[in-house]
């Protein structure tokens, strides 16, 4: 196996495992706790490296995890016993533990600490790779198996506790796994950029989907692709450091997700909003035409947008000549439904929400676009199929429209 191959393999495994854990980190709002941990383990790493000269990765890992435990115990203690706010405590523990690590480094100068500070995928050797492989295997089997419990504990810890879940056990297990992954990731990307490996893929995945299961899958994929791309670019351009390139290519994927992600991306949201506002404007036109038919005496000049009218005509809802616009039978049915939901809603507000009759129109004007068939039927039964709205105008019924 060449150096490039092992670097690529390390990036792939790291991307998968950090993407997987990262989605839980983001959901639990622990992004900066992860940042704190990556700095807090440094004294442990230095102690581990100074202690055993053979640089046994397992021993370094154990020391690092111990330091991580001390860091988070300190943080929880300060949070509990002082009035300092979480942000200040986090920043404080992070920087002081890091300073301790730096002081130890400058005093003992252990070999191999550079990889932990700046990240060096090339420095990941066979033993590290085996460790990484084991951690990935464990994570990839355990997380899907415990997925339901994990997501319950992550989203609603109090509810999980009420149900009798061992929340503390889950928390501690998650924390230990996270620390292990952070220590391994440090060697690839350096102390500062561990956060990028953990948080960026998951934050990108949140733009794409609502479901946690899909989030974890997408986040793994983004982490792996970003990591491999970083290693590949840095292999082709000698002078560039791998860690920052891995972080930057993952960030590029994040930017792409932020722009194009189907769930909350900029462009899909924009398109969705536009089509909704067109639908609403079109429905308003249909309704206005219907109201003109209902009270023909009331002749007022009507001004509509040309583009919207074209769309409605194309959909077969209105009939246009050079000077007039009229509803087609289908258009009339649609408009009647809108008016029906509007007037039912007004009726509902006066009867059940104690609105004054002169206050209900504006609310119904918005609600009419969102009340679907099923809800209309529910409203009608609940109100006892009323014939009149609060203003005394008749509520168009479904049957009447079919008959005419």
């Amino acid at each position: 196996m060449t150096a490039l191959h092992s670097a690529l393999l390390a990036a792939l495994l790291l991307g998968i495992v950090s993407g997987l854990l990262g989605s839980f980190v983001v959901v639990r709002r622990m992004a900066l706790t992860g940042d704190m941990l990556s700095h807090a383990v440094l004294p442990g790493v230095v102690a581990g490296l100074a202690w055993n000269t053979t640089r046994n990765p397992l021993l370094v890992l154990i020391c690092a995890v111990l330091a991580g435990v001390v860091g988070s115990v300190t943080m929880n203690g300060l949070l509990r016993h002082t009035r300092l706010k979480p942000d200040a405590v986090l920043a404080l523990v992070l920087s002081v533990f890091f300073a301790l690590g730096i002081a130890m480094i400058s005093r003992v100068q252990p070999a191999g600490v550079q990889a932990f500070l700046y990240g060096q995928v090339a420095a990941i050797d066979q033993r590290d790779l085996l460790l990484l492989l084991a951690v990935t295997a464990i994570t990839v089997t355990v997380v899907p198996l415990a997925f339901r419990s994990l997501s319950l504990v992550s989203f609603d810890a109090s509810f999980a506790r009420l149900l009798g879940f061992p929340v503390r056990f889950f928390d501690i297990a998650f924390f230990l796994l996270l620390t292990v992954v952070i220590v391994i990731a440090m060697q690839a990307v350096g102390v500062v950029l561990v956060t990028a490996m953990l948080v960026t893929p998951a934050a990108a995945a949140r733009f794409c989907t609502h479901s946690l299961a899909k989030t974890t899958a997408i986040s793994c994929a983004i982490g792996a692709v970003g990591g491999i791309a970083g290693v590949w670019i840095s292999a082709s351009r000698d002078s560039l450091p791998t860690g920052p390139l891995m972080a930057l290519s993952t960030t590029l994927l994040f930017a792409a997700a932020a722009l194009l992600g189907p769930r909350r991306g900029w462009l899909p949201t924009l398109l969705r909003r536009r089509s909704e506002s067109h639908r609403i404007a079109g429905e308003d036109i249909l309704k206005t035409l219907w109201l003109r038919e209902e009270a023909p005496g009331l002749i007022q000049p009507l001004i509509f947008k040309e583009g919207l009218l074209k769309k409605l005509a194309a959909a077969g809802l209105v009939h246009r000549t050079a000077t007039t616009v009229d509803l087609t039978p289908t258009g009339r049915d649609r408009a009647a439904m809108l008016v029906r939901s509007h007037r039912l809603w007004e009726r509902y507000l006066t009867e059940y929400a104690a609105y004054k009759t002169d206050h209900v129109h504006d609310d119904a004007e918005r609600a009419e676009h969102w009340i679907d068939e099923a809800r209309m039927a529910l409203l009608a039964t609940k109100l006892g199929n009323p014939a009149l709205d609060p203003h005394g105008r008749s509520i168009p019924s479904i049957d009447k429209e079919v008959n005419t």
Partner: protein
């Protein structure tokens, strides 16, 4: 206990400059840092301290030296930009604030490191500086003669940022006070909270740049947060807090020198660890229930 033990650290002629520079840096960071802590924006300080790096590199490429106002301008800009992108992602993109912070500051830091490596031949900036700071070398840099005294430029640089921070806190005291504690009242009295916040962030970026050579990017977070956090344990008044920050900074600098000499370790880290020791003392000695710090 012999006296030499206490005098030894001061034997070197540069010691006094080291302590003065460190104290200036600690004071410069501590003052805006207090307002960051009070506004619960410590992590914005963390983000800024990492994301000034690309600004520093770009400023260096323009100006060609480490002690030029371009560096401060560049860093202030990238620091401000980072917080703006975080806010954008948070308010418009629906990304949670902590996740947004994590994404943006690591990206900015990576850009900085890549730029640093790309222009390694042109930018004479020690990569170690990013994580450690390197005060001992910085002090041996260029010297400026003031009267008969030859003063290292780094002393002047950190001194002027300390003055800037002091001026910032003095002149904008009431504005900062009202916008920190009661943004609605501040808005009613035409003191824009957004403007104060932008100013605070820009000043933070500027002081972080000066701390960059002293303690490095990561540990400058400690200089921002530690003094205020220590003083918040013992006082409930803002003026006391600010004076306490100055005392804390000075003591950290002096103690840092001793620690660095005795244990023969990195000066920047020693300053932070002394500060942490002072924090611990505050915690032990004055552990009392403090509800909310009171203005005035």
């Amino acid at each position: 206990m012999n006296l030499d033990f206490w005098i030894d650290p001061w034997r070197s002629p540069t010691s006094i400059w080291l302590v003065i520079t460190a104290a200036f840096t600690a004071i410069a960071c501590g003052l805006p840092g207090s307002f960051l802590v009070l506004r619960r924006m410590s992590l914005a300080g963390d983000a800024i301290s990492h994301s000034v790096l690309p600004g520093i590199v770009i400023g260096f490429l323009i100006a060609g030296s480490l002690d030029s106002p371009w560096l401060i301008a560049g860093a202030a800009f990238t620091g401000w930009l980072t917080v703006m992108i975080i806010e954008l992602l948070y308010r418009r993109g629906g990304v949670r604030e902590d996740a947004a912070t994590g994404v943006v500051f690591t990206a900015m830091f990576s850009i900085g490191v890549v730029l640093l490596r790309l222009f390694a031949s042109k930018v004479d900036l020690d990569p170690d500086c990013v994580l450690f700071g390197n005060l001992e070398t910085a002090i041996h840099g260029r010297q400026v003669a003031i009267g008969s005294l030859s003063v290292p430029t780094i002393v002047l640089l950190t001194g002027s940022t300390a003055l800037l921070a002091i001026a910032f806190v003095t002149f904008l005291y009431h504005r900062l006070l009202s916008t920190s504690f009661d943004p609605s009242l501040a808005k009613l009295t035409a003191q824009s909270p957004a403007l104060s916040q932008s100013l605070l962030l820009a000043i933070t970026a500027a002081v972080v740049v000066s701390a960059f050579q002293t303690v490095g990017a990561v540990m400058s977070v400690a200089l921002l947060v530690l003094p205020a956090a220590s003083c918040l344990l013992v006082t409930r008044r803002l003026p006391h807090l600010l004076w306490g920050v100055i005392i804390h900074g000075t003591l950290s600098a002096i103690g840092g020198l001793y620690l660095a000499t005795w244990f023969n370790c990195n000066l920047g880290a020693s300053i932070i660890l002394t500060g942490a020791g002072l924090f611990f003392l505050c915690l032990l000695r004055f552990k009392q229930s403090i509800s909310v710090i009171k203005p005035g």
